[in-house]
Each structure stands twice: as C-alpha cells, then as structure tokens.
C-alpha cells in the first residue's frame, strides 16, 4: 500500500498498490467493459490504510477492516424483430419464417422462456402452427433440419450477459388469405428466475449467490413480426381487328385479323415464368413475321428473343413479371 502523503511513492510501493488494487477483485471481476455492467456475483472489496508518525520515530501503518458487497443479478432482456420489414408469403405456404433476436441485457447468465403469440390482434389473419425454432448453429439464418424446435422447459436458451440468440417463428399461411393481408406474431421472452415490476427482488436467486432483481424491462420483452400476403393475379384480354382487302372490317377470305393479347399483372409480388400462348384459329393461316411484344417485332424462330411460331400457334415467354406490369402481344392471321 502507498506510503504517507506527501512522500513520493517508491517503485515497490507503487507495484504493491497496483497489485493490491488488482487483487481486490481478482475473485470474479476481470475488468472488461460491459454494457450490462459488473457480472452478477462479483464481490466488491474495499480496504483503506492509514499512516501516521510513530511515537518512537518512523511510521505506523494501520489497515481498516475490509468491506465487501456482492453485486446482484439484474434480470433484463430485449427482443427485436430481425426482419427488415414484412415477410412476403403466399396463401397456403408452409414453413414461413419470421426472425427475432433476443439479448440478455442483465449482468448474469440467465435462461429465458419463449412464447410465440400469433393471435395478438392488430392484423388480418392468424398464421397456423407458429413454432419457435432456435438458431442452433448460430448463423442467423433458418436451416431446416439443423436448427432445433424450441420446447419450453426443455431447451430454454441460456445467455451470458450481453449475449444474443436468434430465434425463428415458423408458421403455416392459411389457404384462404388474400393479397395485402397481414399477420402479426409476437415473440415474448421472459427471464426464468423471475419477472414482474422493476425492482422486485428474488432473494438469493441471483447468479453467483446474490439476489436477483427485476430490471427496468420487467424481466420480459417482446417484439412483433409480420407476414404479408403477396398474391399476384393475371388479367388476360384478347381482342381482334379485321381488315378486309377493300379497307373494311368484313371477315371474308383474304381478310387479315390482328389479334391483341393484353396481359396485366395486379396484386403484389410477381408471376414466375409467365408464358403466353395462343393457337392459330381453324380456317386461318398465321402471317409470318407479324408477332410483336409491346410494339417490338419478334422473330418466328426459336432463338434469342421471347417469341416463337410453333406451327400451330404462337408463344411468348415473359419470364418473371412483377405486379403492376402490362404487356401486349400481337400477331396477324389471314382468313383462308
């Protein structure tokens, strides 16, 4: 311990002071900075020394009694949805995943029970199943067959102070839902040691032998995630314009018929691999080179462009078409 002020400290005394300061908490506290603070169960010990002139000359050093106190455990947790927005689903889809992150904001290692609440209201439909899956391999992504099903009381996740765990809610989307409808699922995490009003003390139940105290979050937390149904629908209108050799619209042999196939995608999401096909009507003959898409000519052969004449009809592949898009395909036939 340091010598009396204002005498300068010797190197040895300085070392001793440092050692003494470190030894005070070597028991449990390693000095690392933590958001959650000093770990529960750490013992804070304090001792002071006094020096004064000895009656016989020299110096007398006395040491105070040691006071020690055990840092108690704060019970605290946060839950945050891990999805950037609504998760798009389609009617009848299975194994649809919502993602949440729970974080132990207490200062003790704590187990948390989990609950997925899919009937909380504030939405349009309730998804089915709503199983909780633990991100067992810790990669933040749902891996079917790898990440394990959560069973309350059996594999409640245990988190060190400041540690986080990703959990998923896996749901089935009812078949009858329609475009734009939303479903809310709350994930609730609660400290197993206890929860309730902030400040409640669970005597002796803290990690490391101290007490456990409900923190400002009440020892429980929840956040909501949303599914949103994205269902695109196809509007398909076919129209025909006849032009006879005399400049009129009589459907006579030799007249041309221009067919227009108008496709409109409504709703939300997209239609995958949309392909438009039409057969050449009996009694007519396809006019080579008349196939167009949105005003641009398409060749009849099977080649790089989207359109082909198959011999009995035309086909145009549009690929993935998002909601809101409209496409027009035209071709001409001649009445035999």
């Amino acid at each position: 311990m340091p010598s009396a002020y204002p005498l300068p400290l010797s190197a040895a005394a300085r070392r001793a002071a440092k050692l003494g300061a470190c030894a005070l908490l070597a028991f449990a506290f390693d000095g690392a900075a933590r958001a959650a603070g000093t770990p529960a169960g750490s013992v804070v010990r304090n001792t002071a020394t006094a020096t004064y002139d000895a009656p016989s000359g020299g110096e007398t050093t006395i040491t105070s009694n040691e006071v020690s106190l055990t840092v108690d455990e704060i019970l605290g947790v946060t839950v945050a949805s891990g999805d950037p927005g609504d998760v798009s689903v389609t009617p009848g889809a299975t194994a649809q995943i919502l993602r949440y992150t729970l974080t132990n904001i207490g200062n003790g290692s704590e187990k948390f029970s989990l609950l997925a609440r899919s009937n909380a209201g504030g939405d349009d439909f309730d998804p089915g199943s709503a199983e909780i899956i633990l991100d067992t391999n810790g990669n933040g992504a749902y891996d079917a067959g790898v990440d394990t099903l959560y069973v309350a009381g059996t594999n409640d996740p245990q988190l060190a102070p400041d540690a986080s765990q990703t959990v998923f809610v896996r749901s089935v989307i009812p078949a009858g839902v329609t475009d734009g409808q939303r479903a809310r699922v709350d994930l609730v995490a609660t400290a197993l040691t206890g929860s309730g009003a902030p400040g409640i003390v669970f005597t002796g139940q803290g990690q490391g032998g101290g007490n456990a105290i409900v923190g400002t979050t009440g020892g429980t937390a929840e956040d909501d995630g949303y599914y949103r149904v994205q269902q695109a629908s196809i509007g398909f209108v076919k129209s025909a314009v006849v032009l006879d050799p005399f400049g009129h619209a009589s459907a006579m042999p030799g007249a041309f018929i221009t067919y227009t196939l108008a496709v409109t995608i409504s709703g939300s999401g997209s239609i995958a691999n949309l392909r438009i096909a039409d057969t050449i009507p009996a009694g007519t003959t396809y006019r080579a080179g008349t196939l167009t898409l949105d005003g641009g000519a398409l060749t009849d052969g099977v080649d790089g462009d989207a359109g082909t004449f198959t011999g009995s009809g035309i086909a145009v592949s549009l690929g993935n078409v998002p909601a809101g898009a409209q496409h027009n395909v035209t071709f001409q036939v001649k009445i035999d």
């Binding site: 311990m1 340091p2 009396a4 002020y5 204002p6 400290l9 005394a13 300085r14 002071a17 440092k18 003494g20 300061a21 470190c22 005070l24 908490l25 506290f29 000095g31 959650a36 603070g37 000093t38 750490s42 804070v44 010990r45 304090n46 001792t47 002071a48 020394t49 006094a50 020096t51 004064y52 002139d53 009656p55 110096e59 007398t60 006395i62 040491t63 105070s64 009694n65 040691e66 006071v67 106190l69 055990t70 840092v71 108690d72 455990e73 704060i74 200062n107 003390v201 101290g210 007490n211 105290i213």
Partner: protein
C-alpha cells in the same frame, strides 16, 4: 453532506479495527437510494448494501479515531478504488486523488491522462485509481472523524 447524520448510530455500532492505544480506521459502505414520493419530494437514503446492482451509487465511509494518549501527527489515509467501482467524487479540501495508481497525486482538475497518440487529456472522475486524505494538523488524543468518497458500481 447532510446525509451523514442518518448513519451515525450505525457507524458507532460497527466495531472498529482494534489497535490498542493507537489510531483505528473503520470502513463502511452504503448504497444511495433516491426515492421520490407522490408529491415529487426526493429523499436520499443511505442503506446498508443489501441489494447492489451495476449503476448503484456507493458511499464509502472511513472513520478514524485516535485512541492513544498522544496526538497523532503526519496522519494520512489512502484508499484504492475497487476495480468494479468507478470513482465519482470526494468532497474534502484535504483530499487528493491519483489517476496512475499512486505515482502522482493532486486535485482531479490538475491531473492528466496519456492518450494512445501520446497527447494528454484532462483526467475525469472515472480515471481515478486512488483517493488520499493528508492531514496537516495532528489528530488530538481521543478525537475522531469521518472521511467519505463516492463511487458507482460499474
């Protein structure tokens, strides 16, 4: 420092470290709780450390007593700050602090701390590693007094 009064009785009930016919130094720690009643009145209570959590304010109280027959001269008290505690303040004109484990001492405003780039910044309370009280006057025989400092549980 009006919050000293409530625990006078508590302190006298605590056995001081025995040092026959000499100076004794007794150490105690309290947790400060601020309570606000329905009228918005704040009450600061210093409670025995039954429940302590990170962020709590602690008050360390050192009571010295000269039990000898002669005045004690050259008296000084040194208290290293526990690692899990952030020093907050000491209100005593005799007190000096160190931010370098006792190598240098002074009022906090006069101390600096080296930064990674080699420059020095003014020291703040959280840098304090030790607090010390140096007495210029002898402690008369039979006299006693209290020294306090405040800290926060990290």
């Amino acid at each position: 420092m009006k919050f000293f009064l409530p625990f006078l009785a508590l302190l006298s009930a605590t056995a001081a470290t025995a040092a026959p016919n000499g100076v004794t130094l007794n150490n105690a720690v309290f947790v400060e709780h601020v309570r606000v009643d329905a009228q918005g009145h704040r009450t600061v209570a210093l409670d025995p450390p039954a429940v302590v959590t990170p962020g709590d304010h602690l008050v360390f109280v050192l009571t010295y007593r000269n039990g000898g027959a002669q005045p004690a001269t050259g008296f000084g008290v040194t208290n290293p700050i526990p690692d899990a505690v952030t020093f907050e303040s000491v209100e005593d004109p005799r007190a000096v602090v160190s931010v370098d484990h006792g190598a240098t001492w002074g009022a906090l405003a006069t101390l600096t701390v080296a930064q990674p780039d080699g420059s020095r910044r003014p020291a703040v309370a959280a840098d304090v590693t030790h607090v010390r009280w140096a007495f210029s006057q002898p402690i008369p025989a039979g006299a006693e007094g209290r020294l306090t400092f405040r800290g926060i549980v990290k």
